[in-house]
Each structure stands twice: as C-alpha cells, then as structure tokens.
C-alpha cells in the first residue's frame, strides 16, 4: 500500500498527471469569493476560539490552525 501510494505520488510529481477534467477557464465559479471556506480570517479565528473554550472537541477546524493559546 505504502509503495503504491509513493509510486503514484512520484509519477504525478514527475509530471505524469492525467489531464485535468476542468480547464482553468472553467474554474471561475470556484474562484468566486463566495466559495472561499475562510473568507474573513480574523473573524473565523475568533469563532473557533468561542467553540474551543466551551466544547470538549478540538482540531480539524479549518483555517490555518496552529494552536489557539486557550485552555
């Protein structure tokens, strides 16, 4: 399994990737700001902090991560 994954990555890294199914000009909607998962980083970092301080769960919040300095 590990070998297969590595082999695939090496092939793709060497430029053997398959033809992408979306051309760059077909990605205009995806580049629209309404599609950004983290539109306002200062606000979303604060919102994550509100959750982390009151909930047992932590991690995989999206955004840059890297520790909130809260307990």
């Amino acid at each position: 399994m590990k070998t297969a994954v590595l082999l695939m990555l090496c092939l793709f890294a060497a430029g053997c990737a398959p033809e992408p199914w979306l051309k760059p000009y077909e990605r205009a909607r995806l580049a629209d700001p309404v599609m950004a998962m983290d539109r306002h980083p200062a606000s979303s970092a604060y919102q994550h902090h509100v959750h982390q301080a009151r909930e047992g769960a932590r991690g995989a919040e999206g955004g840059s991560g890297g520790g909130c300095g809260c307990n």
Partner: protein, 373 residues
C-alpha cells in the same frame, strides 16, 4: 512515520508551476463580544497581512479579551473575577511554485496562564491543480499558575499533527477532508475547579483530578457548492474522540449571499453534540470516589445549537490609490447550550442530585473593519 517523511520529501522535490496563491493582502480590525451564562468577554483583534515580492506573505495578529466572570462555576465554588488575556502572533508564508510553506509563532499571556506555540505547515497542488494536499505540525508549551498561590506553577506540552486534502470535484463543487491528531502531556487541570460528592442528603466539594495525558483525533469533511444565482453554500461535518472518552459530532451550514454590488450577507447554523468524559460526574457518591474526577461542564454530555447572521458592506472600491476596497461587517450569533448531566446547584433542593439540569444562551457580536490593498 517513515511514509510521512517520504511524502514530505516528494512534496519538497516537486515544486514547479504557478498555481498556488498567497493569501490576500488585507488588514482587519475586529471588535468581538461574548455575553452569556454570566460571562462577558470582549476585546479587539487586529490582523495585518503584507506580501513581499509576490513570494512571501507576512502576517501579524494582536488579540485581546477582557473577561468579567460570574458563571455558574464561579458563583457556586468561587468569587466573581475579571481578567485580561493578550495574544500576539507572527507568521510567514513562502510560495514556491505550487507549494506554500508556512511558519507561525503565537504567544498568549494572562495573569495565571501563559501559552507559546510554534507551527509549521506545507501545502502542495497536484493533478492539474485540482487537488491540494496539506500537512501541519504545531507544538505548544503552557504554563499554568494559580492566583493567590505564588508557589504553584505547572507545565503542559501540546503537539498537533494535521493533514488535509482539498479536491475540485466539478466546476461548482469543492470538497475538503481534514484530520488532526493532538496529544497533551502535563498539567491539564483547571487549578480552580472542583467536583462535588454526596454527604448524607447534601454535598461537599473537592479538587478535580485529571489524567496527565490526553490524545484526540478529529476528522472534518467540508463541501462548498456554487448555487446558480451566485451564492456559496458551505456544509461541514466533524467527528471527534479522545482518550478521556469524550466523543462529539458537529454539523455546520453557511450560506454566503451577495446582494447588489456592495453587500455580502451570510446566514449560518451549527449544531454540536457531545458525550461526557469517562471520569465526569455531576455528583460523585463519596469523596475520592475514583482516580480521576471531573465536573467541568465542557467535559459533560451536552448539545449546543447556534444560528447566526452577518452583513458586510464594501465601499470605496477602486477609488483609492493605495487601497483596493474597504468593508464593514457586522455579525451576530445566538448560542443555546443544554446540559444533560450537569445540574444547576444554585437551586436548593431537599436531596442533592435532584437540581434541575443547567442550560444557558449566549450572544456573540462581531464588528469587522477590513481594507484590501
């Protein structure tokens, strides 16, 4: 671990092309306020990001909050207090072809708690730029003190490992899967918190006792869909579990709807559902009933549901030489927390353990001023 190292080598060696982009250059000034459950927490956050030579993006953040606390924990086991916390962070992102490497340093200070954290990240576009892989590592060092007890000082170390993949599925759909593993070691208690135990038909208190290690895993799936009338629909689902027995799941839904040229409206809903830690109890049967003892409501069984709305107004677009545009954004979120095994002991009852279950609501307000340049 060996596979991870090899993957990183492959990522480092395969940096070519010009697909990845640095974050936007912008400055944000945020005022935030949380009010609910007897707590009021407010303060500013300022985030500035500036690019150098289109290869490096530098960021700096100042965050502060001032807490006035008269929460249920405080009024039942301590005295109301107020305190301030300040957090500073600086970061840099380096763009190399289709890869972005990031580093960030964060330092947080309050009178009885200090935290320092250093994080690294790497992301790489693959497969015709339809796939982005990312990895991250962070290490945090906490120092815990206790007000009024100068001899008390304890340490804790936190390490976080992240990986994620973002996939372009169709011209309208983006999907992202992320996983984070966190491990803590050291003093993980809150030094002020107590548990209660039964004494006759009443109760008494003793200090909480937590394990000195904790490991957790969280997996999140996010999807963003472009709606035909130009709006973004974002869905999120996260699963969480840890070695303390806490398990949770949450769902989130956000609709981003532009209106006319200048307005950006946002509607959101979120539901969080958690099961308690193995060593949590609202009322232990006797003193020292078990090795580990917790009555922290964040470790109890509860649900939290929130609804929010935000409106942003863009102005002076393209009218200034050194600024592309400005935005003012106001945001409100209403939270409802309902606890299933944490009782409101402010209510006097004949026999301990018969108090009503606790619940509270909170309002989160944010005012954001942003400038893009």
């Amino acid at each position: 671990m060996q596979l991870t190292s090899l993957l990183l080598v492959v990522l480092l060696l395969s940096t070519w092309g010009h697909a990845a982009v640095l974050p936007e250059q912008r400055a944000d000034a945020l005022y935030h306020r949380y009010e609910g459950g007897g707590m009021t927490i407010d303060g500013p956050s300022v985030l500035v990001r500036k690019n150098i030579a289109e290869r490096v993006s530098l960021s700096a953040n100042y965050y502060a909050d001032k807490v006035s606390a008269a929460s249920i924990d405080v009024v039942t086991t301590a005295s109301p207090y107020s305190e301030e916390r300040e957090e500073h962070s600086v970061g840099a992102d380096y763009l190399a072809g289709k890869a972005i490497y990031s580093i960030k340093w964060t330092q947080s200070e309050e009178s009885d708690f200090s935290a320092r954290s250093l994080s690294f990240g790497a992301s790489q576009d693959f497969f015709g730029d339809l796939t982005t892989l990312s990895f991250g590592y962070a290490r945090g060092d906490d120092t815990v003190r206790r007000s009024g007890d100068p001899a008390f000082e304890e340490e804790a170390v936190r390490q976080q490992y992240r990986m994620g993949v973002t996939q372009v599925v169709t011209r309208n759909l983006l999907v992202a899967l992320s996983h984070e593993f966190v491990t803590d070691e050291g003093y993980l208690n809150n030094p002020y918190r107590s548990v209660r135990y039964l004494v006759g038909s009443g109760y008494s208190f003793q200090s909480e006792v937590y394990p000195e290690t904790r490991t957790s895993e969280a997996t999140a799936l996010r999807a963003s869909y472009y709606l035909p009338w130009r709006a973004g629909l974002h869905l999120e689902h996260r699963l969480y579990s840890d070695s303390w027995g806490v398990a949770s799941k949450d769902w989130g839904l956000v609709l981003v709807q532009p209106w006319r040229e200048q307005w950006e409206l946002e509607f959101r809903a979120r539901h969080y559902d958690q099961g308690a830690a193995d060593f949590y109890s609202d009322l232990f049967p006797f003193q020292d009933a078990q090795n580990f003892l917790a009555r922290d409501k964040e470790l109890s069984t509860f649900t939290s549901t929130s609804f929010g709305v935000a409106a942003g107004y863009t102005f002076f677009k393209g009218r200034w030489k050194h600024a592309d545009r400005f935005m003012l954004r106001l945001s409100l979120d209403h939270y409802q927390f309902d606890y299933q095994d944490f009782r409101d002991i402010r209510v006097a009852v004949p026999v301990a353990g018969q108090e009503p279950l606790y619940g509270f609501s909170a309002l989160v307000t944010q005012a954001l001023f942003s400038v893009w340049y």
